[in-house]
């Protein structure tokens, strides 16, 4: 984070010459700007045509922009009988629970993989990677039978569980990278100075792994938020989420599909922008992924 870097260094602590520091500082700012602008362009650009679709009434070749506009699609999206907001809320709720569970399970798993050597570690790593490599559909067809027997199909808990299949590996991978670069002696030092187990987790471990948790959580949220196949199969049409709703409209009504897409993409963009500082620069929270 730039804030601590621009403070003057301690006298005699062997800091950089002033002019040198300034130059580096301005590079940092420039780099940040390029990063943020790039991110914005990359994320926001696709929304523009979608938005234009959503307000178009007539848009035929060779016109570059629609020849007639209409608010019909947005009225449809907002009217209660389509329950778009209800579905959006549902989608968010599922994604949040999935994210929370991914953190709860993925952080300890990533710690074990990143820090410790144990028998069968390679095997565990492969099992964690498998759901990412093997097509989700293949995994889910197997799981489906189990879920029906357990009474989990066609229910929100079932959908949440099946979303963990792709999110948990991501969370675990990100965290194992973070822990591979983490020195547990910091925790021992805190204990020795009088911190309880809990205080150590809160004051020492958490701040150190926080950027990684944010990045992993972001992955988890977005994977769940945009999940189509898994939700369709396990939810059996009973559990409605935005991607399902969206796909329904793609053929029947492009304008509404455009409006829904905007509703669908915006939260992801906002979340991403809010956490952009954890994705770039010195934090390099994901830098350790290569270790696994």
């Amino acid at each position: 984070m730039a804030d601590t870097r621009i403070e003057p260094t301690a006298a005699g602590a062997g800091g950089v010459a002033p002019e040198d520091k300034e130059r580096r500082f301005s590079w940092r700012i420039t780099g940040r700007w390029v990063g943020i602008t790039g991110l914005l362009a990359f994320l926001v650009a696709p929304i523009v045509p979608l938005f234009i679709w959503s307000i178009s009434f007539r848009w035929f070749y060779p016109a570059i922009l629609p020849t007639e506009y209409s608010a019909r699609a947005w009225t449809e999206v907002i009217t209660p009988h389509n329950d778009v907001l209800g579905v959006a809320w549902n989608t968010a709720l599922i994604a949040l629970v999935v994210t929370a569970l991914s953190i709860l399970l993925g952080v300890p798993a990533g710690r074990a993989l990143g820090l410790y050597e144990f028998r069968g570690k390679r095997l565990v790593e492969w099992m964690i990677l498998a759901p990412i490599i093997v097509p989700g559909l293949a995994v889910v067809l197997g799981i489906h039978v189990l879920f029906i027997r357990a009474g989990l199909s066609n229910s929100i808990p079932g959908v949440i569980l099946v979303h963990l299949v792709p999110t948990l590996p991501y969370m675990t991978l990100v965290m194992s990278g973070v822990f591979a670069n983490y020195d547990t002696d910091f925790e021992l030092q805190a204990r020795s100075l009088g911190a309880s187990r809990w205080a150590t987790q809160r004051l020492i471990t958490l701040p150190a792994i926080f950027p990684g948790v944010v990045v992993g959580a972001l992955f988890a949220f977005i994977i769940s938020w945009s999940q189509y196949v898994l939700t369709l199969l396990i939810g059996g049409g009973q559990v409605q989420t935005l991607p399902l709703l969206l796909f329904g409209f793609v053929r029947s009504d492009p304008a509404i599909a455009g409006a829904l897409s905007v509703v669908f993409i915006l939260p992801a963009v906002i979340v991403l922008l809010l956490s952009s500082r954890y994705l770039s620069g010195d934090n390099a929270a994901v830098g350790g992924i290569g270790n696994i």
């Binding site: 601590t4 403070e7 260094t9 301690a10 005699g12 602590a13 062997g14 800091g15 020195d183 002696d185 910091f186 021992l188 030092q189 805190a190 204990r191 020795s192 100075l193 009088g194 911190a195 309880s196 205080a199 004051l203 020492i204 701040p207 150190a208």
Partner: protein, 351 residues
Amino acid sequence: MTQVTLSGLTKIFDEKSPPAVDQLDLEIESGKLTALLGPSGCGKTTTMKMIAGLLRPTSGDISFDGDSILSIPPEDRGAVMVFQNYLLFPYMTIAENIGFGLKMRKVDRKEIRTRVTDMLDLVQLPGFEDRKPRQLSGGQQQRIALARALIVQPNVLLLDEPLSNLDAHLRDEMRELIRRIQTEMGITTVFVTHDQEEAVVLADRIALLFDGRLQQFDVPDAFFESPQSVEIAKFFGGTNFIPGHYEGGEITTSIGRFRAPRSAVDGGDAVLSIRPEAVTLGAAGGNSVMGRIRSHVYVGRYARFRVTLGDIEVEAVTDPGQVKMFNDGDEVPVTFDSNKIWVIGPAAAHE
């Protein structure tokens, strides 16, 4: 003030390799400065972590003032360890780092602030409260780490290689600081080092460890005057060894027989050890043999000669003036001061 007793302390990390710490028995005196000395990898850090409660021993016991503390968690032991690489918490200011232990003990904020200021004065870094660890040099970080441990007034202070990451002049400064604080506060202190000179200069007593096993636990000069094995003598360096047979206060070697009242063994195959300062050239007498000067260096405050005696070679450190008296190749009488000869058991007997 606390006396620390280790009995049969053992740590095995891995069944396939030898124990990192093997049946260690040690009485660490209350209020004294004890050095844990040994080459890298001999189990010093492991021992410290076990005393601090950060690592569970495989077997054996640790007691403070006679009471076993194995079941007491690290935060309640009153033994604070300072790690070799400082480990200042990067997200906290210097003041927050130093005050950490007091905050954990629920001391109120105002008192923490005054005591942090006192500590910064003690380690001669006044006004550093609001800096971040990464703005400090290695030597400054080391002193902050020390202050962070001292502020909780531990019963036992465990310093893991406190000087090894510092360059020469900072090392002297830090050495004095540790000695001064330790004397003033009278804290039972154990410090780890792999440097024998550092241990000798700083410690009241030295525990020498090889491969997880205690070799000798003694006052510093004993390691020079009466090392218990050839390996120990070699670790402290600079000694001449001549193998022979010891019997009735005399040791018979390939170059002659020497009177040697001081010995670590009763008799049998043994090694005569003598420090270069106790070897004199020129004057014949008891305990003398003829030798030939092979080479010499003039160092200024003293001179160093290499002398061949039959099939062996010894080193003699003499008055610098002797450089003018002898030439390389001269035949000279070489005398071993019998009171400075120390007879040790043969190297092989000691595994």
